[in-house]
């Protein structure tokens, strides 16, 4: 009897040791672009958190915005014989050779938050957000909120020619298509910055009869929205009430503005790209299940009803 128990105990112990060993056996190399923005810092933090949660040994390499550093990091990951590689590519081109080396070494590569111009068989999958969809979610919120009433919208675009600016504009326009009550009356670039967002909003307010003609502002990122909110306040109007404010990204500061009633809605560009990537890798390595070539992250809409102060506290520590 005792012997049987001991045997069972030993089996359980062995099984648990074995499973712990197999979990920790997964080693993943992560080549991050560098610290270009708060969002990217949050992505790094969340990737490390997700790896720790799953017992993955994460090897982190900061490329300081240089592709040659990323290629070096990838080569060293391959030399170390990691089980998988995550890479947030700094540019779209020039990856074929190093990805071929990874493929020859049978190491799956997952692209995070950006895609590249390379044959699709060179990488396992890409985890990115759909920028057009983000603009669409923001547009749909506005369409539902104004509920058929006439509404003049001003748009603060991102850096002219950048893909987030082009796609977020496109998605928003698609959501507004066919809704005659909503009209984009002015659209200018605010270069994704607070300063320019404020300056451009100031001139929009002047140009549209002191802001009386404007019913909503749509900003391609939260930072420009924060600048626009200040401009609206300085013009003697109430942001969030007199002029609706909707933007994209969901950085902590916009939740403070939402808690104060000065911003209305934001669409999250989630910094948790690693979670879905690890899930896909897990399924691929353990069960050999090939993931789709593109995994789209959720573009979640936050409004004032979502307890913005709580979200702010959660996001504050992520390094935004």
């Amino acid at each position: 009897m005792n012997f049987k128990f001991a045997l069972a105990g030993a089996t359980i112990l062995a099984a648990s040791v074995f499973s712990a060993a197999s979990a920790s056996a997964m080693t993943v190399g992560f080549s991050q672009i560098g610290s270009e923005s708060g969002w990217r810092a949050a992505e790094t933090t969340l990737t490390k958190q997700q790896a720790e949660k799953r017992g993955i040994d994460l090897k982190f390499a900061d490329a300081q915005q240089k592709q040659e550093n990323q290629i070096k990091a990838l080569r060293s990951f391959i030399a170390q014989g990691v089980d998988a590689i995550l890479v947030a590519p700094v540019v779209a081109t020039g990856w074929d050779e190093v990805l071929q080396e990874a493929k020859d070494a049978k190491i799956p590569v997952v692209l995070l938050d950006r895609t590249i111009d390379a044959p699709k068989d060179l990488y396992l999958t890409a985890v990115t957000s759909d920028l057009v969809h983000e603009g669409n979610v923001a547009g749909k919120w506005l369409v539902d909120t104004v509920a058929g009433k006439p509404c003049n919208v001003v748009e603060l675009q991102g850096t002219t020619g950048s893909s987030p600016a082009i796609d977020r504009k496109k998605g928003f326009e698609e959501a507004l298509a066919g809704k005659d009550n909503l009209k984009i009356v002015r659209s200018q670039t605010g270069d994704f910055t607070r300063t320019k967002g404020k300056e451009v909003m100031e001139s929009f307010l002047k140009a549209e009869d002191g802001g009386k003609n404007i019913c909503a502002v749509y900003a391609h990122n939260d930072d420009m929205a924060v600048g626009a909110i200040q401009a609206i306040k300085e013009a003697g109007l109430k942001p969030g009430t007199d002029i609706l404010v909707v933007s994209i990204d969901a950085v902590p500061d916009i939740f403070q503005a939402m808690a104060a009633g000065e911003a209305n809605a934001t669409v999250e560009l989630t910094p948790n790209m690693a979670g879905p990537a690890f899930d896909a890798l897990d399924a691929f390595i353990k069960d050999g299940k090939e993931p789709p070539k593109w995994i789209q992250t959720e573009s979640k809409l936050y409004t004032q009803a979502d307890d913005p102060m709580k979200v702010y506290e959660e996001k504050k520590g992520l390094g935004y």
């Binding site: 810092a41 002219t160 607070r194 300056e199 003697g236 500061d253």
Partner: protein
């Protein structure tokens, strides 16, 4: 006295004319342009926006004018703005008083200027390279201070510098007008301006004739650093946060452009701070005008470039001598006709 006034008028005429033409063009595109009202204890309108938004470039242009007059150039001012904004935000969020914060921030700017000045005057490194060092490194230093995030603050005193108002004008406008006046009086009411011009025209000759060129050069870069510190405080206070990545980004080029549009030669020598300030306002009028006119953003840079090329062509000595020649020909033609009769 009327003689000096007339000299000033002749010197500033191209800039004033260019500014007037641009303002007139903007008012055609946007009819309510000259409308001013009194709101929130201050004047409110597009013209005030130009003065207010042009504050950082105007301040940078003051220091840049003096540096360029010494035949130098300061590429680091945008990065120094970012450093000083970061220092101000870090100090105020750490709970220090406003006076201490301003003191530390301005000292930081002066220190950056001193670094540039020593590289140029003592180590004799070419200004474009010497200041390039801080231009590249500066943003990194600013990011270290803010730890890569936008460092926000809520101190009412510091925010007042960016968006408060005094005598019905926004604070940034008061600061650049006041500071510009002080520097202009300092260089023109004393021999300082002439000595700076002497260094710019021929550094060796001025040293041989007893001018302490090293001290003057270092002082010029310190002034530029000080101007960048003021601009950095204003930029940070305006958005209530220090954005190390974007504060003052490419503003060194706008400041150099303001000086050039103001008619000061990049080869050093004669300079005018008033003309550079007008140059800064010309640039900002173009920027604000484009925003008000409602053109798609793809046109912004093309319009800006076209207007600036036009201004520079009109100012170029070749074009001016051509104008003079044409007016002479025109004046001579009727005479010939009369003689023929």
């Amino acid at each position: 006295m009327t003689g000096t006034l007339k000299a000033y008028a002749v010197r500033l005429f191209p800039q004033v004319a260019a500014l007037a033409i641009i303002l007139f063009m903007v008012s055609l595109a946007f009819p309510g342009f000259f409308k001013l009202s009194f709101q929130n204890d201050r004047l409110y309108g597009s013209l005030i926006d130009i003065l207010n938004r042009g504050a950082p470039v105007a301040l940078l242009a003051i220091g840049m004018t003096v540096v360029i007059a010494t035949k130098g150039i300061d590429l680091s001012v945008g990065a120094v703005m970012a450093i000083c904004g970061a220092v101000a935000a870090a100090s105020i969020t750490a709970g220090h008083s406003l006076a201490f914060t301003l003191l530390v921030t301005i000292s930081t700017g002066i220190l950056c200027g001193l670094w540039n000045g020593v590289l140029v005057a003592v180590l004799d490194i070419q200004p474009i390279i010497a200041t390039l060092v801080l231009m590249v490194a500066g943003r990194g230093i600013a990011q270290l201070i803010t730890e890569g995030a936008i460092l926000t603050f809520n101190h009412p005193g510091l925010i007042f510098i960016g968006s408060g108002s005094l005598f019905g004008l926004p604070m940034p406008v008061i600061i650049w007008l006041g500071f510009g006046l002080i520097v202009a009086l300092l260089v023109r009411r004393t021999a300082l301006g002439m000595l700076i011009e002497a260094v710019g025209v021929n550094r060796r000759a001025s040293r041989l004739s007893g001018v302490s060129t090293g001290v003057l050069l270092i002082a010029a870069y310190i002034l530029s650093g000080l101007c960048a510190a003021l601009a950095g405080i204003i930029a940070a206070a305006d958005i209530r946060g220090a954005d190390a990545n974007n504060a003052g980004l490419w503003l060194e080029l706008d400041a150099i452009l303001a000086v050039v549009v103001g008619g000061t030669s990049l080869l050093g020598g004669r300079f005018s701070i008033a003309a550079s300030l007008l140059g800064a306002m010309i640039i900002q009028s173009i920027n604000t005008g484009i925003l008000l006119s409602g053109f798609p953003p793809e046109f912004n840079l093309i319009i800006k470039a076209a207007i600036i090329v036009l201004i520079l062509v009109i100012q170029s000595p070749r074009a001016q001598s051509a104008f003079i020649w044409m007016s002479r020909v025109r004046a001579a033609e009727p005479k010939k006709e009369q003689e023929a009769k």
